[in-house]
Symmetry: C4
């Protein structure tokens, strides 16, 4: 077939525009997509305000359909241009792309569309893809590396927090009772979380002396133990930054990276740095 | 007696299953126990919800007895299989194990069982034992070592916090008086803790101008001094991590410490580690 | 012209007094200006209290005009004394200086002067100039350098926070509905921000079980992820401090960097710094 | 005079007991004093509870006089035993000691004794002296050194916070107006402090859309900028700890302290460490 090479190049061109961001066209595409996604989420958000919905319902519906049709075209172009369409369709972003257009079509047949609101808001996740292509990727990687490295410590910390919250919640249920709003252990645990995290709504608050003493303890504890995750993340961030820095020094003999600042010999092959510098 | 060696091996086998987690059977035992403990705590929690108790009281009672009987069997197996039963019985976990089954039996004879709720929730502490056997132990140890090392500093910090809270509480009692809810010094101290820790329920809040100025000061102070425990724990964590990394390796030639994990040569004198180990 | 050199020297003298702070007269000028700015802002602030305005309106108006006339004289002296008047007029501080006198003159012709209040409060920004001339500049520079260096990471962090807040807000709108105060998605997002940042007003609070479970998750998340910006800023501050200390000195013999302030000999090769400087 | 040497030795003995803590008697004295101070503060605190005062007024009065007489005796013993009595009387702790006994005597002649409550609570400050003599002094010194070192940076930070709070407060006053509780700029500033520090009482909360958007900004800002003081203190603590560590290495030639870990030569006199170790 004569059109094959042309088609091939069209698909490649589309792929460069849609999936990459190096070319001017690719950057333009990303900017326009970013604006469309944000606008469509803002429309969903405003649609939920009763006063606005009453007045501008027709406008909202029209806009919603415009966005959906554009996103649908984009979805099929993505399938068309990707070298392995099935890989794309079942990838995380492929599913998010599908979920961001389906609710509008379903709303034609199904009632109770308010539950689709949340799905439509998930369009926001599509922004993550755009950022993937920009300079933020490095920063995000350092952050997420530090978070992954401190995951085990943070799990231990969260486990201890949950234990404190459960035990203090049960104690408060027994001490305060239903008059102060501590009507059940789950509700007391909810109060303990509200207090330990220093949110403090005030919808439930202890009224007995013993309850207020216990509440004081959990408050001061919550105020203090926030230091633990902060310390963990600080240390991990410092480490992962240091590693990123250390890699700038490379042994001229064996090309090993990650030397300590101040090292006189390569830790891998024993080469004497001084003789080189 | 001929059965002695057989019995001995049964007890040893039970010990490996119940107290350790290296064998497949031991891991299975831990997973089942974890599920049972969590389920039993969830049942206790839900039992406290009035609407649920009214409807499912019979189910809750049955489940509670099922859990108690299983835990009782487990308790006696632990006593039977441990080499020094008395050591186990009077150990921390031995007492927690006993406390987690006694309330149900006592509820047959004693009224006012709601006070047993908290004791039953203490079953949660049994989970700590299971985690002791897993990979979280290292992370927990680094954390608790850092916390123990910073204990003295944190005590000084807490002492200063308590002094601030007491003095500000007394001042607010005199400034605001009973109309704003500051009915006594203990209540004012409770308010000062709620404010300094940035919980801020809002059940008591200053209404006079002078009171609001003082409240502003304590808020900004509380917002600022949270930096102190955070800084303490960060520094201690960084130290204890560094020690864990560094103390494991010393150069046998120049006795330099602080080598990177994975180093083949001393960074100070160029000695080849491999030739030594 | 005979007066030119005299004028020139007067302008130069005024410039030294008004724009600099090295001379005693310059320091005096700064202190007086600082007091005037603070007094004028306090007067604006107190003027907004209904009880005080009713009683002392005449005093407030007189003071406002006194301050305005002084600031006007200062403004024209600044224009007169600066070597390039246009540069000053269109600089950031030139505009702030103009904005701090215009509202009072406009209030003669225009009604609805309460909107000028905010502009008058902007006088506060003029204080920033005074601090620019003092020893705080170094500290401020280290801080702002660290903040600028961590900007990209903090943007990623804020992006993730906004995504969480939008998705959780939409979920809560569907779960809780209008009875609990979650009347629209924007309002639910506002609640999510109030909760995630651990402010917790309590004007809107979840009342259903599912809503309280989701709220617990977002609270613990907010309690934990505050560790991320803290860690970022800590690491950047440590780096920028280290650089400020280290970059000032390089050994002229072995070109080793990172010498302690006050070192007389290179810690690496033993070279005597004094003999070089 | 024959009694002079005896008196001298009695005064010295008393001085060792009262002002120092090395001898067993000195330690005993400190423990008893600590208990007396805490008890007297607890009595003052409980006296302010209306229900308790009504019932136990006589007991409270008696205890107060007992404490006052003991503290009076202690005060005069301190004056008697100190080598330079006037130095003691006009020292910080001398004045605190006097203030902790005077209110009770004054209450015989003056009405409105509730204002003396706060002065009596200041007795707490006397505890600081006892801690001065214990092992907490080192920890406290590291902490206070780090805080003093970061003072300038924290002042810059607080200045920026106050500027934000003033400008946002004025904006909210204009946006929200008196209906939402923002009745004056000082009140709006109070709200801005409550919000920025994440306390969030909820007694005043924005109700307009624009106000809630501005509130969201200040909340996220407050959530983020808490990272700044935390980072500052972390870095300073790490530095002051490092210095405390570094000082353990002393140059055997010039006895200079504070060498970097890994230094081969004394930074002060150029002595080669290796030749010594």
């Amino acid at each position: 077939m004569a059109t094959a090479p042309h088609k091939q190049s069209l698909r490649k061109k589309l792929y460069t525009i849609i999936f990459e961001a190096e070319t001017p066209a690719g950057k333009w595409f990303d900017v326009v997509l970013l604006i469309l996604i944000l606008s469509s989420v803002i429309v969903v958000t405003l649609e939920s305000v009763v006063e606005l919905r009453r007045e501008y319902l027709q406008l909202f519906l029209t806009l919603e359909w415009v966005f959906t049709i554009i996103f649908t075209v984009e979805y099929f172009l993505r399938i068309y241009s990707s070298p392995k369409p099935l890989n794309y369709i079942f990838s995380f972003f492929g599913i998010v792309d599908l979920l961001s257009i389906i609710p509008t079509y379903l709303s034609l047949f199904v009632l109770g569309t308010q539950y689709f609101l949340v799905i439509r808001v998930l369009r926001l996740l599509r922004i993550a893809r755009i950022f993937k292509l920009t300079r933020f990727i490095n920063e995000g990687e350092v952050l997420s590396k530090a978070l992954r490295a401190s995951m085990a410590k943070i799990m231990v910390f969260l486990g201890v927090v949950l234990m404190i919250v459960l035990i203090v919640g049960s104690l408060m249920y027994v001490i305060e009772g239903a008059q102060s709003g501590f009507t059940s252990i789950p509700k007391s645990i909810y109060w303990a979380i509200v207090t330990l995290t220093t949110v403090g709504y005030g919808d439930i608050a202890p009224s007995t002396t013993l309850g207020q003493i216990l509440a004081s303890f959990i408050m001061i504890m919550g105020y203090g133990i926030i230091a633990v995750p902060t310390g963990i993340v600080s240390v991990e961030l410092a480490k992962s930054e240091k590693e990123a820095l250390a890699s700038t020094k490379v042994c001229p003999n064996c090309h090993e990276e990650g030397h300590q600042s101040g090292a006189h010999y390569c830790f891998n092959c024993g080469y004497h740095f001084k003789s080189f510098r």
